[in-house]
Symmetry: C2
Subunit: 301 residues, 2 copies
């Protein structure tokens, strides 16, 4: 069996994967460890425990993490993880687990999971976009994951959507991520003078609930997000011409507020030669599973 590991900003999820299915799960906190080595120790212990509880022999480990470079096996100065230096996690886990370990970008891992086991099955040209704390993306072109010359391609979230626009966590201005991530939607709602009580809850579910109650600023927040995302996706299509785009993450689960109007605006935003030729859909996998399955699939690339 293969271990799939998805490292997030707060939680690290672990799954035992067999034949494209997650058959057992566990998790540890990403934060609160004395350092990167203490985290790796805790992660290895949890993996061994999970395997033992299920009588499984682990043959390889695949790890998805933000800012991970698949070519080097290093997490490169991830702004959303506790370690601000380079962490050679592939090597650290291979040593601890005694099996080959492959590290990959978390968005690429989710894309792989969706491509191999989800809504992207059978597509040679595919785009998977994760709408979460940030905006991640994985491009499949000519039947292969696009990694780029340095292993860090596929950063749709950091394409400039508005020159001199909103500040982004990357230090630049106007990135798509600054507009259509959880943070982006919350900022839009605040800028539209939305009800401060709504923002006391985390995430965007609170804004969606407000929209369903008829809150004007919340409805407008989703309308803006739809328009920005439509242009961002159309820009991606102009580069790689995918047949399908799969959206992934909590924001994409808002069918009426996001997906229905997005389908319409996306077609309008497309260059005419692509109109009606790119299909837009939502992930067919549970969010946790796509990331874990994709991480496991990294070991077979």
């Amino acid at each position: 069996m293969i271990i799939g590991i998805d490292i997030g900003g707060t939680t690290t999820k672990i799954g035992l994967v067999e034949k494209g299915r997650v058959i057992a799960r566990s998790r540890i906190a990403t934060t609160g460890h004395a350092g990167d080595h203490a985290f790796a120790d805790a992660l290895a212990a949890e993996v061994r425990g999970l395997a033992e509880r299920h009588g499984a022999t682990v043959s390889a480990a695949g790890i998805g993490a933000p800012n991970a470079n698949q070519y080097t096996g290093i997490i490169e100065m991830a702004p959303n993880l506790p370690w601000k230096h380079d962490v050679p996690l592939a090597r650290m886990m291979a040593t601890r687990l005694g099996v080959p370990a492959t590290l990959g970008n978390d968005a690429n891992a989710a894309a792989l999971g969706e491509w191999r086991y989800g809504a992207g099955q059978g597509y040679n040209d595919l785009l998977i976009v994760t709408l979460g704390t940030g905006v991640g993306s994985g491009f499949i072109v000519n039947g292969r994951l696009v990694l780029g010359s340095h292993g860090n391609a596929g950063e749709l979230g950091h394409m400039t959507l508005v020159m001199d626009g909103r500040s982004c966590t990357c230090g630049r201005k106007g990135c798509l991520e600054a507009y259509v991530s959880i943070r982006g939607l919350r900022q839009t709602y605040a800028e539209l003078d939305g009800d401060p009580a709504v923002l006391q809850e985390e995430g965007v579910r609170c804004i969606a609930d407000a929209a369903h109650r008829g809150d004007a600023a919340a409805l407008q927040t989703f309308r803006h997000a739809v328009r920005w995302l439509a242009v961002g996706l159309a820009n991606a299509v102009a580069v790689t011409g995918p047949q399908r785009i799969v959206l992934f993450g909590g924001i994409a689960r808002n069918g009426d507020l996001l997906m229905a109007p997005l389908r319409e605006h996306f077609q309008e935003a497309l260059l005419n030669i692509y109109m009606g030729r790119v299909d837009l859909t939502v992930s067919a996998l549970p969010d946790d599973d796509a990331a874990i399955l994709g991480a496991a699939a990294l070991t077979t690339l």
Copy 2:
């Protein structure tokens, strides 16, 4: 020998290609024919004449054209060509010449030429951008040309740079092409209240000359173009992570006004993980040759 044909809005260039070199050239007007079949007749006659004059046996023909779809062999409603309907030119030329004919997008053909024989040799992840009447692009990813699911990928010029920005010939607003093409630079110069006498000449050479004379609007025109192009290229890098970008076409030949400041602004526009990792250069081939060589290379894809 292979015939390489580059169909432009006004002129169609023809070259006899042997071992990656153009050994003889000819040309006919693209416009002024009674229809697409009359054009194909004239083109076939010119090709046969060129081959006869050089005692060459032609084994295949490669044709680059705007809005050409490599999968279907059809020029699809090209706004810059005389025929507003679909023209199945690959089949039309194969019939007339009695050899296999391959049709491809002109920007992709130029990219192929640059990749096989020019400044892109040896790169597995490459972007070639043509700055001309429009802005064309060809992406090489994982050592293959990106055609997309419908054969029409690689339209960097039609990525939206400014939402609700300038009208583009494609019918949409704010495309990169509306800002950094010949048309775009001329529009910028006019919007900056430049000297109308300068614009009486065609192209952008007249604006470059004015800039060299110290004309403030002309200098500002290039400064704006540099800034827009830097962001456009950085956006492309965020998708495919190329190791090198090759710029091509007359505008790119302005070293002092365009390329020198562009190199600086481009690095600043890049997401930090790409900084210093993408090299920006100008085509190493004569403009006409890249297009003809690339068209010929289409036959070997």
